[in-house]
Each structure stands twice: as C-alpha cells, then as structure tokens.
C-alpha cells in the first residue's frame, strides 16, 4: 500500500460512486434511439412482404410506406452500426465486458432465476450484475452482432455473398434477421420492465450514479 491517506474526492465519491461511466450512458441512449428507429422502420419493410401470417399495425411502423421505411432503415443503420462498433471496441478495450459480464455459469444463472421468480433477487449493489443480467446483456450483444451481419447480408447479397453463405442462403438470412429483431423486442420488454421495477438502475443510466 503506497499511501494510507484518503483524499476528499475519494470520501465524497463513496456514497455515490459512478456506476455507469459516461461512454456507456451515451452509447446506451444513442443505441436506444437507433434500435427504435430500426425496429419501427423494419416493421414497415416486413409488412411489404410478410414472412409469417401477420403484419405489424400501421401505427407502430415508421416511414409511411415501403420506400419511406427503407429510407429510415438505411439512415438509422449508420447510427446503429457506428455506435455499436464503438461500444464493442470500448467494451473490450476497457475490459468492461470481461469484468461485468463474466463469468456466466449455469448454476449461477439457475440460482438467480429462482431468486428472481421468488422476488428474492437483491439489487443493493448496482455495480455487480447478477447472473440473469449477465446472460441477458451478453446474449443481446451477440444478437446485436447477428442482426447487423444478417442485415448486411440481405442488403448486399451479391457483394457480401460470404455473409449470405454464413446464414445458408438469402431467405435464411431474412429469417435470421427477423428472429434477431424478435429477440431484441423481447429483451426490450424485459429490460424496460426491470428498469422500472428498480428505478435507481434507470437513474444510474441517466446521471451515472
């Protein structure tokens, strides 16, 4: 131990230490905006040629018609890709992913799922993610990478043919893109619900503390 003295700054920081650094908060909200734009315009595009026996209600689509939906989708795409790439690079470089999301063990996940279902899962320390959070956050990062790759594959199936091959063929890439969207929507519902149940986590994502 080099020094036993404590600075005023450290004392002041103890009761309200930074849980979410600024870069996480900025990228989180930029991502939230980009995702919503992508989902709503994506639903507009889906409606032009549905994969399944349903379409999305008009009120929840963006763009007015297919051409408008495509314009929104291919505009918000840049926001999503650049922000997402910056997030991945920063998360890996700073070691945040490793510190916050690993390890993920089966027994840990089982334990925390049981605790959550019986309302015994504590949220006293927001700096440590429980195993359910770890699994969800790590999983949604993987889904995020997949939805971008499958999206690029169906956007440029000739130029990026190796991406199409990764998913099998063009129609398969479309289904992957759809199911990734569905996974993100399911995540969004759970994520928002949990944030509302634990409001201080929402506060931390806005002001950092």
């Amino acid at each position: 131990m080099a020094s036993l003295t404590v600075t005023d700054e450290q004392v002041g920081a103890t009761p309200a230490k930074v849980i979410q650094p600024a870069w996480v908060r900025i990228m989180h909200w930029v991502n939230a905006l980009a995702m919503i734009l992508m989902i709503l315009s994506g639903w507009q595009i889906y409606n032009a040629s549905p994969l399944f026996g349903f379409t999305f209600p008009r009120e929840y689509t963006l763009g007015g018609w297919l051409g408008g939906g495509l314009l929104w989708h291919f505009a918000a795409m840049w926001l999503l890709m650049i922000n997402g790439l910056a997030y991945l690079v920063t998360g890996l470089a700073t070691g945040r992913f490793r510190k916050k999301l690993l390890p993920i063990t089966a027994s840990g996940v089982l334990h925390d799922v049981r605790a959550a279902l019986t309302f015994k899962l504590g949220h006293d320390d927001l700096t440590v993610y429980n195993y359910v959070q770890r699994l969800l956050y790590a999983g949604i990062i993987v889904v995020g990478v997949l939805i971008v790759l499958s999206g690029l594959a169906i956007w440029k199936p000739v130029q990026l043919y190796y991406l199409v091959m990764l998913f099998g063929d063009y129609p398969a890439a479309r289904y992957v893109h759809f199911f990734c969207m569905a996974a993100i929507c399911a995540f969004l519902v759970i994520h928002v619900l949990l944030a509302l149940l634990v409001p201080k986590s929402l506060r931390a994502m806005i002001i950092g503390r």
Partner: protein, 260 residues
C-alpha cells in the same frame, strides 16, 4: 430539357405527379413520417421537431444519396451473383408490377423497335429479329425484390456490355437510362458500371421460351446485381447519358443505386 417525352406542354409536372400519386393504391407514398406512435417516440427521444416532415424528408434524401455513393464504392464489377441449378427455379416465377397483369403492356413484336439514343456512335433502332440474331447466354439467378421476397429464374439474352460495345456506346458515360411501355411510363437509370457487369443482360427468353408478356415481352433488362425494380421490362428505348434523369420508383424515394 424535356425530362418526360409524354408530358403535355403547359401541364404542371408537380400537380400531375400529385394527381397520379392519389391514384396509387397507397396514398401515403412520400409521407415518410407517418405513424403517430413513431412520431411521438422520435420527438420524445430526440427533442427535434420532426413534425416538419419536409425537413426530415430532405435529411433522408441526403442520407440516401450518401448511401448511393457507399454502394457504388462497394460495387465490385467482378463479383458475380450466385447462379443456381435448374432444379432451384421458382415455379411459377411470380408476376410482379405496380399494376395487374391485365394492365401489362401487350406489345406486338412485329411493330416493336428498340430505340437507341444518347452517347452512342450508332443510333439506329433495332427490330426484334435483329436483336434475336445476337449471341445469347442463359443464366439462372435470384431476383431479389425491394419488398424482401425473392425468386430464382432462368434468363436468356445478350450481355448488355456486348450490345453497348456493338452500338459504340461511350462507356465512360454515367448511366444507361431505360424507358418502358408500362402504364404511367416506367423508366429507370442504370449506372454504367452495373450496365457493364458481365451478368447484366438484355433478356429475350424466360425458361428457354420467348419472354412471356408477364415478364416483359419483348425485352427485359435483367440485372442480378440490383433489386428487382431496377430490372426494367417492356423496354422501348435506351439512352446512354451523363444526366441523372430519375426513374419511376427512384423519384418516389427508392434508393437509386439499390445494388445487391
């Protein structure tokens, strides 16, 4: 410069387009900001005034132009679209247009001529018999629609780059602009590099049979490196040009490059 030869002099082009848009099945075309929920979400999240839809449309058009440039940069003239065995052909290959099959042009092949205009040495018009004499190749490729569906078909015809060479086209020009016989005057610009792509074809046959009316008799331009709407059917003229003359769907907001 007259953009549309079929325009009546003195008619307000914008009003005409407005009127024709009204007749379209989806009256909200060009209203890119429709949808109350999305509008509310946008306003809340960005704090921007997105109610002013014209400024949002301007922004989207600018990004779309940027995306044109990115796609042109990504375009590899040597990258070939995947080809398929005959067993993979979609049966029946769908008819697809912004009108019903009954409204598709019914062209008499004997009267039809392909008009060749613009930056070419030989501006002669071509009869169908003359075109049929040109060397032809068959390719089985996937047609990908802007809507997301796709279908595999067998197309036979003359590579566009061979024809461009034959007519002495200035291949440094930016576009080959096609005009078609579809109702409401379909037309579409094709960037020169895509026109010169080895698989871009002046198609005369589908599944080894004379191109049926449904797929664009007498001539369709098959561009496997583009979305379906950039594959003009019922072609009546082609013009080699440096001017961007717009297109039927492009003018309504579809991304002009729309490469695949």
């Amino acid at each position: 410069m007259a953009k549309r030869s079929f325009l009546i002099p003195g008619v307000d082009k914008r009003l005409l387009i407005k009127d024709s848009l009204k007749a379209m099945p989806d009256v909200t075309r060009r209203r890119f900001i429709a949808g109350g929920a999305s509008l509310g979400a946008l306003t809340l999240l960005t704090g921007c005034d997105v109610i002013d839809s014209s400024s949002a449309e301007t922004m989207l058009a600018k990004v779309s132009k940027f995306n044109d440039a990115v796609q042109a940069w990504m375009f590899n003239p040597d990258a070939l679209a995947p080809t398929f065995p005959e067993s993979a052909i979609t049966k029946p290959f769908p008819f697809n247009a912004y009108y019903d099959l009954d409204d598709a042009p019914d062209i008499d092949g004997k009267d039809w001529k392909l008009e060749v205009r613009g930056l070419v040495d030989n501006k002669k018009s071509w009869t169908l018999d003359e075109l049929y004499q040109l060397p032809q190749v068959t390719q089985i490729t996937r047609h990908i629609c802007v809507e997301g569906w796709s279908a595999i078909g067998s197309w036979t015809g003359t590579p566009m780059r061979d024809f461009l060479k034959l007519i002495g086209a200035d291949t440094r020009a930016k576009y080959v602009w096609f005009q078609c016989a579809d109702k409401d005057g379909y037309n579409s610009p094709l960037d020169m590099r895509s026109a010169l792509h080895p698989q871009t074809q002046m198609t005369f046959k589908y599944a080894n049979e004379i191109l049926p009316r449904a797929y664009g008799f007498p001539m369709k331009i098959r561009v496997p490196t583009k979305l379906g709407f950039k594959n003009p059917k019922y072609v009546v003229s082609m013009e080699v040009t440096n001017d961007y003359k717009g297109g039927y769907w492009e003018d309504q907001g579809y991304n002009s490059f729309s490469g695949s």
